[in-house]
């Protein structure tokens, strides 16, 4: 197991290297510099800034310096907020996104899983049709339609919840529901089709033949098999959650990582954009690894390759 984990960690290196290289060259080859648009800066100031951040050196020197820096887990200084490092910026804004993401994914599991399982157990019943309608609607209504609609109903008409901003638990409700909708749909679909498969397998028939009650068969025998693909979905789900938060954070004015990313991209804050992109890909890789380890524990038949 340990050897395999180390192997997987080593396999991550080329991915991280590729992301770092792509972002580096993409951003450096782009027209415009982080300081060129600032009218307030005099040429001497810009020259000094370029000197300070090493932007006047040859491209390959900058590239190797950047890679060297990365080896020390240092994402460099921000070119927009002078005196702040990218590490600091990520550390400050990430907790908001994590809070939002965790809340959304918990809602998705709590709603999606029972929905999918019930619709498989009561196949072709009203519950099934209702659940599948919810699943299709969930993927068809984009978060930037759902979010404002919820705001319109619950904040501007009923005055139950705050329409935007961040801080208390009340502020978390609408954004996390908005973000969770698509995941409810995915999870309901995945668990339904897996549950259907499990229910038609031999060991379930055996369990029924022993005379167990349907409830016992489902909770004790079928459930475990049905949740496995949901666990493996959790890895890619993290990557999707992170992109999803970009929009949701914008709708509800939440100071999370996605919000900072868009701001940085529009302001040509090279190092912040590169840093966040890199951070997201590393986080996704680690999450996928954790999910695979968990899968190996849940289902001994899945060999950890």
């Amino acid at each position: 197991m340990l050897r395999l984990i180390i192997r997987r960690l080593l396999l991550m290196l080329p991915v991280i290297f590729t992301v770092a290289s792509i972002t580096f060259f993409l951003l450096r080859l782009a027209p415009g510099s982080p300081f060129a648009n600032e009218k307030a800066f005099e040429p001497q100031v810009i020259a000094a800034l370029n000197e300070k951040y090493g932007l006047n050196r040859p491209l390959h020197v900058q590239y190797f310096n950047y890679l060297k820096q990365l080896l020390k887990a240092d994402l460099g200084p921000s070119t927009r907020y002078i005196g702040r490092s990218v590490n600091e910026i990520i550390a400050e804004h990430l907790p908001h996104s994590i809070k939002l993401g965790l809340a959304a994914y918990s809602i998705a599991l709590l709603v999606g899983l029972p929905l999918g399982i019930l619709s498989a157990v009561y196949k072709h019943s009203i519950i099934d049709y209702l659940a599948m309608a919810i699943a299709v609607i969930g993927v068809s209504v984009p978060s930037f339609v759902l979010g404002p609609t919820l705001v319109l109903i619950f904040s501007l008409t009923l005055f139950w919840l705050p329409p935007a901003r961040w801080g208390s638990l009340e502020h978390l409700v609408l954004p996390s529901i908005t973000l969770s909708a698509a995941y409810i749909a995915y999870i309901a679909r995945i668990s339904r089709s897996q549950m259907l498969e499990v229910l038609s397998s031999d060991y379930i028939r055996t369990a029924f033949a022993k005379g167990l009650s349907p409830w016992t068969v489902i909770t004790r025998h079928a459930l475990r098999g049905a949740t496995i693909p949901v666990v493996s979905f959790s890895g890619p789900a993290l990557a999707l959650l992170l992109t999803g938060t970009i929009v949701v954070e914008r709708i509800f004015a939440i100071p999370g990582l996605g919000h900072v990313f868009i701001e940085a991209a529009n302001a040509r804050d090279y190092s912040v954009v590169m840093g966040i992109t890199l951070f997201v890909s590393i986080a996704t890789l680690i999450m996928n690894l954790l999910v695979d380890i968990l899968l190996g524990i849940l289902d001994p038949r899945i060999s950890f390759k």
Binding site: V19, V136, I137, V139, A239, R250, V273, V280, S281, T284
Partner: protein
């Protein structure tokens, strides 16, 4: 093709699919020819008629610049559907070619080609697309290519898996024994049979590409004004949601209905193509 006749028959029995397909057909026609019959153009500014509610004159009302939202929704739909179709076509061409070659050649080449796909798979795509659009130009063409370039990976994997299993079938062996060239075997014998599951996946690529475009336009990185797409209309509509809600609701309803129909159609196809569920 007996298979396609069967699929069509199964689809016709699914009432929801028939409704969805009819809606999409109607939508495509309206979006293409509709703007010609409306007496306003999508960028016609009329400052004497700003923020008007829906009426007979302006079916969906007007926006803060007095532009007719109905025409803008149609033009937006045209662009959104075009993005969806072109991105899907790009991903189909690249994905099928790549997957077929990889699967057919097999061995080390296959291993190498699939490692490359794995590598691309683990990149944070949307983040890279956002970098690209933000730093270079917000050109519509870049958007098409970028969205197509994201979705070919899954397509390539599906095709490769299919080709790997089909190439061991006896009829392929027979063709090879007759001296048929590799290219001809791929095009004539393997691809037609491998494409069945790909078609279903392709149908579902269209809504996901439309969604990605709307996502980018919503963030101000996609289609640029005065041109409109569903994403930009929604992002404009949100600003005045408390005062003029129809500016958001009308385009949102159109977009949701279209995405819903596309998803229903894709799901219906998958179900119809799955012999176990038929």
């Amino acid at each position: 093709m007996q298979l396609w006749k069967d699929v069509l028959k199964t689809l016709k029995h699914n009432r929801l699919v028939v409704v969805a397909a009819s809606f999409l057909a109607l939508m495509s026609v309206i979006v293409t020819v509709g703007p010609m019959f409306v007496s306003y153009s999508f960028d016609e500014i009329n400052l004497d008629a700003t923020n008007e509610p829906p009426s007979l004159k302006h079916w969906f009302g007007t926006d803060p610049l007095g532009r007719d939202i109905f025409v803008r929704t149609l033009i937006g739909g045209r662009i959104s559907l075009m993005v969806g179709l072109i991105a899907t076509a790009v991903s189909f061409i690249i994905g099928v070619t790549y997957g077929a070659i990889s699967g057919y050649l097999g061995g080390h080449v296959d291993e190498l080609m699939m490692r490359f796909v794995d590598l691309l798979y683990s990149l944070p795509h949307l983040f890279l697309v956002i970098c690209f659009l933000a730093f270079f130009s917000k050109d519509l063409l870049i958007l098409f290519v970028a969205l197509g370039a994201i979705s070919w990976l899954t397509m390539a994997r599906i095709v490769r898996g299919q080709v790997l299993s089909i190439k061991q079938q006896e009829y392929v062996e027979a063709a090879r024994a007759c001296g048929t060239s590799s290219a001809k075997i791929i095009v004539r014998h393997i691809l037609p049979n491998a494409l069945v599951p790909v078609i279903a996946y392709t149908t579902l690529t269209v809504p996901s590409a439309i969604l990605s475009e709307a996502f980018l336009s919503f963030l101000g990185l996609g289609v640029q004004p005065p041109l409109a797409s569903w994403g930009t209309l929604l992002s404009d509509g949100i600003i005045s949601i408390s005062v003029y809600p129809w500016q958001l609701i009308c385009p949102a309803a159109m977009m949701t209905a279209t995405l819903f129909s596309l998803n229903v159609l894709g799901d219906g196809l998958i179900e119809a193509l799955n012999p176990r569920k038929r």
